[in-house]
């Protein structure tokens, strides 16, 4: 033995033994994490930096929306639907109103249908714009792209505010029509904003979609196969990014969508870049629909006068109504027992079901990619947890 004792150390096996290889480390990502878009947690098993297992954990924002809906009157649930996906209260309102209209067999006047289309497409614009901003922010482009997107979103929220009185919790639609009419000046302002939107899109797309870092971070990341997407009930832009032509506006033709000419953008690869691209392309189509709606909108009543909104009692029966929300298929399933509140009130939340395949998308990718993949799914926890 040497005087210093170093010899022993040299003979000892290396401390970082190869036994660590293949060892999994469990990390709890969230619930308080800026990239989880709310309070959402993932239990991740990591091998080095590679994800080997991922289990999403929900429920931090659970308030049993469906039970509240069963105890509230039909009208009373309308403002609650705003709180599901708080980015898109207009489309939530529409999906619920559509289901109640199916349940009770209510007709909607022409002008109200046009107003619904205009507001739903404006919602789609602001949802997709802010999603792109958030996604870029998740990739590390802090601030700037998000602020660009929010600047446009702000203009649309101002429109919502001047029409419905609220920026996000609009509570605008009613069964059999809409709550307040839009004046000519409002339509003029909306048209101006929509006309200016393509310029923003051009600028934004130039900034981000051909950016080298964005391409490196998104292409071939989180690839989703067509079969898995259909089997797992993925809807909306995520499904169409896999090349599946399924847009409920075309398939069901609810409201007055068959009157509008628009194309359904489809992806080729189903990776994160395609999902990102899908949003950009859908915004262009929405602008087309909006321009047609501004041209065609007729004068007339906005409420069906036969509908008794207060003390509303639909006949016994059940109905499932669905629309193409910005995030995917948003459905409401209602069972009526003939009383003033629904016997069963069910929300089919698109972002909840789109999370089913989160693990499949993330396996084999690094932790940093998990955030990008999650961002491209487009979730809002108000809707996931209900």
């Amino acid at each position: 033995m040497s005087a210093t004792g170093f010899q022993e150390l040299e003979q000892a096996p290396p401390r970082m033994s190869s036994r660590l290889e293949g060892e999994l480390m469990e990390v709890s990502m969230g619930p308080q994490h800026p990239s989880t878009h709310g309070v959402f947690r993932m239990n991740v098993a990591l091998e080095g930096e590679i994800v080997r297992k991922l289990k999403p954990v929900f429920g931090y924002l659970h308030r049993n929306h469906e039970k509240i809906g069963e105890n509230a009157s039909y009208l009373g649930s309308m403002p609650y639907t705003d709180r599901l996906d708080y980015f898109c209260s207009m489309t939530n309102n529409w999906a619920y109103a559509l289901s109640v209209e199916k349940l009770a067999g209510i007709e909607v006047p022409e002008r109200a249908e046009y107003l619904r289309v205009i507001l739903a497409e404006l919602t789609r614009l602001q949802n997709h714009a802010s999603l792109l901003g958030f996604l870029l922010s998740d990739m590390g482009a802090w601030g700037t792209p998000l602020m660009y997107a929010f600047r446009e979103r702000e203009k649309i929220l101002d429109l919502f505010e001047s029409l419905s009185g609220s920026r996000m919790m609009c509570d605008y639609m009613r069964f059999g029509g809409c709550r307040v009419d839009a004046g000519e000046d409002w339509l003029g302002r909306a048209k101006k904003i929509v006309d200016a939107f393509p310029k923003f899109l051009d600028e934004f797309e130039q900034l981000i979609l051909s950016n080298e870092i964005v391409i490196a971070r998104t292409q071939e990341v989180g690839k989703l196969s067509t079969d898995l997407a259909i089997g797992a009930g993925i809807t909306g832009p995520m499904l169409r990014a896999c090349g599946v032509n399924y847009d409920i506006r075309k398939v069901d033709g609810y409201g007055i969508y068959p009157r509008f000419k628009f194309r359904v953008p489809l992806g080729d690869h189903g990776d994160t870049y395609d999902r990102l691209m899908m949003r950009a392309l859908e915004m262009r189509e929405s602008i087309g629909i909006l321009n047609q709606a501004f041209e065609q909108i007729p004068a007339g009543p906005i409420m069906n006068p036969k509908v008794k909104i207060r003390a509303f009692k639909p006949p016994v029966g059940e109905a499932y109504g669905r629309i193409e929300g910005p995030k995917g298929e948003l459905g409401f399933y209602l069972i009526s027992d003939g009383s003033a509140n629904p016997y069963r009130y069910r929300v089919r939340p698109p972002s909840f079901i789109n999370l089913t395949i989160l693990e499949d998308l993330c396996l084999g990718h690094t932790v940093a990619d998990v955030m990008v993949i999650l961002g491209s799914i487009d979730i809002v926890m108000g809707e996931v947890d209900r």
Binding site: G233, Y333, Y343, R386
Partner: protein, 221 residues
Amino acid sequence: MESLEQIEARAEAAVPGAKIDIIANPGPANQPSLLIDNEHAAAVAQFLRDDPALRFDFCSNATGVDWLDRTVKKTTKIKQLVDGVEKEVSETTEEFFDGYLEAVYHLYSIALKHGPVIIRLRTTDRAVGARLPSLTPIWRSAEFQEREIFDLYGVRFDGHPDLRRILMWDEFEDHPMRKDYREPDDFEYEPTPHDEVLERAKQHYSARPQLDGAEKLTAEQ
């Protein structure tokens, strides 16, 4: 798309022994559904998914419904001889129906762009631990939704790959979407051995009341 009667007949022919009933929907929505017996549910679901004329490859919505026990009162007028004079007397009969839990699936076809076909599965009773076959092996989209039904209604799905609570926390005991669910006063409250506290706890956990007005639910009668 074929009519629901045709689908029912073909499914019964394709899956020997399957018992399928059509549940009418009286409302204006006109969305009747198929009630499938639990034993053959997976086979019938597979038929619905794979049959080339149907191809319901997309299970959009899966959810639970709680139907309570109920008595249906029927009043019939019969003619009776009372003291030699014929009189009309109304007679009330009561019929008792057991409650059950139900899982409802809304199916669409992405390949052929039709739908919906609605299928229902029913448990025999409302006991905790009532069982149904899982359709997650057929449609992966039912995975989280069946977990949600288990969490909120307490239906156990046989064959589900990962049946855990999803919205409530794991230690939670009851199933909050059941119609007779009663919220605790305080989730963090533990009774301490004081008379009044114990009394309060006893009152709170007394027998659950049944809902009134459930006899109106004549969706399937």
